[in-house]
Point group: D2
Chain length 366, copies 4
């Protein structure tokens, strides 16, 4: 019933605030014998780290992860792994204005309404900084997956910034690491750069869509009815800050299709069933089909902008606010490694669950 945890057998509890001494992830249920060290996890944190280019917040945090438990002589022992990241750049003076005023579109007002107390330095617990903990846990999950299901590959990328979508005919996996937006469409990357420059200068922000794909996931993992693979992915992605929509496969567009168009016909390939298409996003009845698992989510624009917005104070007076400080014109960019981390955690969790439920994949075809 813990509200800061996710996962069933691979269970991650994140803790920490944006301007406290540290934040981290308590990871329970990692299988023993996974080779891991801080550097492997650091790789993924560096990918998410702010201040790397002009399109992301200029807050500079080294985001150095420390492993405090659960690893001995370079291997997980099966006991809880504590991953800690100390906060160093806590310049909390920047945030003085939000002590009394609620920022529109932020959780300031609802945290206050719920708790009657609030850590007003930065976003406190609701800051996107919390996602660093997820990325650390995801780094560990990736290594565990590598051991249990070595064919699995997890990649996230951007498919849309503001009104500008990628052209799917340009899709090139190798481009993803070549541009600051982790997009597989090199042309889109150029257009977005210009578009975001303009936004940044005007102090405005914009939303985005991130897609995460898991390839090589074996058929048969997932668990009906309320821990379906898609249910858990929807929850995982929706729990990321600023996410307002989640889609599996065809997503919202499935509403527009006929049954005839939407059916993924089945053929027999050399290694088992093959499908004519993947409208389902690799999941049927909450269970993996063996196809690519495809999740997409929309990230709203950050409300921290240089335009004056109307708001109220804690004492109920109407006023205005401009959010200065170090912020992202498109927070969606940094959500890419976060989405990957969540995918990794969910996939690992269901690989473990399946083993517990079934032992091995029992249903054979052909």
């Amino acid at each position: 019933m813990s509200m800061n945890s996710f996962g069933h057998l691979f269970r991650v509890t994140t803790w920490g605030e944006s301007h406290g001494p540290a934040l981290g992830a308590t990871v329970d249920g990692c299988p023993p014998g996974v080779t891991i060290d801080a550097e492997v996890i650091q790789h993924w944190l560096d990918k998410r780290k702010p201040g790397q280019n002009k399109y992301t917040t200029q807050r500079r945090e080294p985001d150095q992860v420390k492993i405090l438990s659960g690893v001995f002589e370079g291997q997980t022992t099966g006991t809880p792994v504590q991953l800690m990241i100390e906060n160093t750049d806590q310049r909390s003076k920047d945030y003085g204005d939000i002590m009394e005023k609620f920022r529109p579109g932020h959780a300031d007002i609802t945290y206050w309404q719920k708790y009657g107390i609030r850590d007003y330095r930065g976003g406190g617990r609701s800051s996107a900084r919390e996602t660093a903990s997820r990325v650390a846990a995801g780094g560990l999950a990736r290594e565990a997956i590598r051991q249990i299901a070595p064919n699995v590959q997890i990649n996230g990328y951007m498919t849309q910034i503001g009104p500008h979508k990628i052209d799917r005919t340009n899709f090139d996996w190798s481009q993803i690491e070549q541009n600051p937006f982790w997009t597989p469409d090199a042309t889109a990357a150029e257009d977005w750069a210009a578009y975001l420059d303009g936004l940044r200068k005007s102090g405005n922000s914009v939303g985005a869509v991130v897609e995460v794909v898991a390839r090589g996931v074996p058929a048969g993992i997932g668990a009906p009815v309320y821990a379906k693979l898609d249910t858990d992915l929807a929850a995982a992605m929706m729990s990321i800050n600023a996410v307002k929509g989640v889609e599996i496969g065809e997503g919202m567009a499935a509403a527009e299709l006929t049954g005839e168009a939407n059916a993924d016909e089945i053929f027999m390939g050399q290694n088992g069933p093959q499908y004519s298409s993947n409208h389902a996003g690799g999941i049927l009845g909450g269970i993996s089909t063996g196809q690519d698992i495809v999740v997409r989510f929309a990230v709203k624009p950050t409300s921290s902008i240089l335009t004056t917005r109307k708001t109220i104070t804690k004492s109920g007076e109407e006023t205005e606010i401009i959010t200065k400080g170090r912020h992202d014109p498109c927070v969606g960019i940094r959500a890419v490694p976060v989405g990957e981390a969540m995918m990794a955690c969910v996939i690992l969790d269901h690989l473990l669950l399946h083993r517990g439920q079934i032992g091995e994949n029992r249903g054979h075809i052909g």
Copy 2:
């Protein structure tokens, strides 16, 4: 860790298959003292019941709910409430063909791949019939909410069938109960009737979008970070059969907005904060704002259509299948009361959780 349960304090476990003796919901955590009888729950089941008009499956099930426990002299006692619905119309002969063949777009193949055993009569556990259990539980949740937060009103309705969306300027709450699609747009209802007639005759099906709104939810309920109100709603809706996308407030369209456009500005009303708009869908940082909570989900078209589709058998031979029998041209229609039920369960659960976490709403404004 139960995979057929949802909720934290108000916890629903559904059980049963489409063609077994019965199905139902074991509801644990319902507060004591809620006035309830089978008829109150029956009202909501009747709303979902198949065979009511030509747009839904002609399977006829009385869907009579029995309360087997947890209620004494017309009131809940605080102990588990068992809600059972016996299956009567089990004509399983209709389904003989799917013993060996996998229906494209159905969970037949993945259940087989996971479990190595499958109840092939109808959809078994993956049948939409499972949602009757949810509707029964939701009926109980509504009564409990009425006692705890009497201002809450929960309504679902259709906003899209295939490519045809409602016109929001026609939105009229009073229309919802006046047409077989539960849509607030009377004009759309007429158009859809004609459209679905054509589809039905051709043996095809189509997807849909359902929107569910909870009005009157007090500010401050929800729980960061992994039991956010929107996270739980996303999971709840995505767990419904055939759902492929979930949106909160602005949803996927949030990607296209700038921060300036997306900000819901805050004013001071007579009873607390008021907002200039509701892009957030009533939820900030996972916690309710007091505005309408707005969730939308897309239901894919059923794959049970009269067009021949390619598939394989359990022994791996390629073949074809036509799904005869009693099916829905637009399963999305019957998803409306299901979405309402899930909303009711999530809202009640978070009302109870909030009470446990906080005692009462502590943060005061003004």
Copy 3:
């Protein structure tokens, strides 16, 4: 966080009251492919059934179990198994006196103080009748264990009634089924018969100690720190009605031993480690050693006796009460099959968990 459920992967939710229409167990997480039918489960229910001899309550319930879901063509499918037992002998008139008065030693007063509403027919939810649901679930667990770990044998028996303990030198497994007390000491059985006759005639009752042993459990199952095998067993047994103490291995007597006396020395046998003794009760650090797992629990005497006891009414008036009706002079006797059922559920749960956590037993000795 359901409060009427236990288990992690094999999760049992019991429901129902002593005098409602039915009671049962919703069993989620049973592996697929377990051969089962109602008769197999009935065998264990019959063992617990009241009214079988003069030492147990004369309430007569056929306690016929029905399987409503999760089983198809004689095998579990991996979906929830609903086990229902209808109540037939509900003679609730017998219980009229307890509508207003609280029975000392019963949960009447605390249920009232908690819920403000109470099903006063019999014990309602707190009646020992709830344990029928556990026995049904345990019957299913036994069959699943038979498939996963066929060497496991689970047996419960009585070691003490009132002040009269068995003589361990008389211990004979084959005696357990030969007497109405399920005791391995034939001499004790005779003495107890006479002792209980006297008690029954005087309208008094007495406590008892039950021991449950699981033989053949593989080494290495269990899970530190808060789902230790002994922790889960302690919880399972303490949750049974009227249980006031739980011991593992040496139990409370471990307090009197020195470290030298308490150490179970380790040798190398043909099939792995062997121990000189089993003070630990087969569990070290919460994980099984491969020795017999030994749990013991004390059942208090039922407070339903023919002696007048002082009590109060709901309106706070002091009064007296005699509990007439059909009751057990030694409820501990019927706790034997219940203890076995709980052991079966816990062992199965940990077998599944281990598989999920580790895959297979990884540590090799020798």
Copy 4:
């Protein structure tokens, strides 16, 4: 389903090994607004700290707790509280011998059999050092209880060391803090000192019994059937290292009583029901009666003794072992503050749960 967590709404996950960089507790669900700082928690850690007198291990750890999250300006914010204790005295050389040999009575062998990998420095995760995390969490729980139910008082004390029990007629609350054994019987304290001196010199160890009492707990908290107050207490205490038995109220001795002797008769006092006795230990049907809640548990003697014991190595060779190093002649002594901490966590958890389930205490008497 995390295996290193306990509690429902107040949920504690402990992490860390005896000789890793740090250990701690991730506490989720602490109510907001609790006044707390590291010193308050340090008070309880100091009580448990080793090396304080000659009756406990001479390992010297400052056990300084740091609060890394969840507290802002001296108050809890409702977000996870991370409590970290850095290990400083990690002299792992002392433990070299146990790399290859399994210590009888320790979890060395079962951890190896489960995980196939083991942190052999000290006890690793199975070390009693893990209980420092519990004491830290318990310190926080106490402060939260003080706010929610200010009349609650929690005290633990020893009632038995080896064969030597306290004389209940000497019971004096004020003595508890006056002797190194936290015993309310001053005479026993003197006898035990002499007894333990002898044991320590001979390199032997002995078991003990600890009793923990919670006074002032309101009637009506607890939750049938599997989260009964006594069930949760049994699990909490049994999860403590080396505990082999748990008793509520009369405990195992309840087996010897008749129903007449065991009944706690009820009278009407000025502030509600009063009882003639407390055989039930303050709990009926899993719910508190308002009387003292009384739990007792037996701690086995540590197996780390100076006597040679027979054992085997990882490669299966028979050998002998003497455990040198810094150990406790009676680990039970240091279990007193641990038992108190577990009691505090369980009571707080159920106070919060009750609020979530019921809102307020609803049943009125008189």
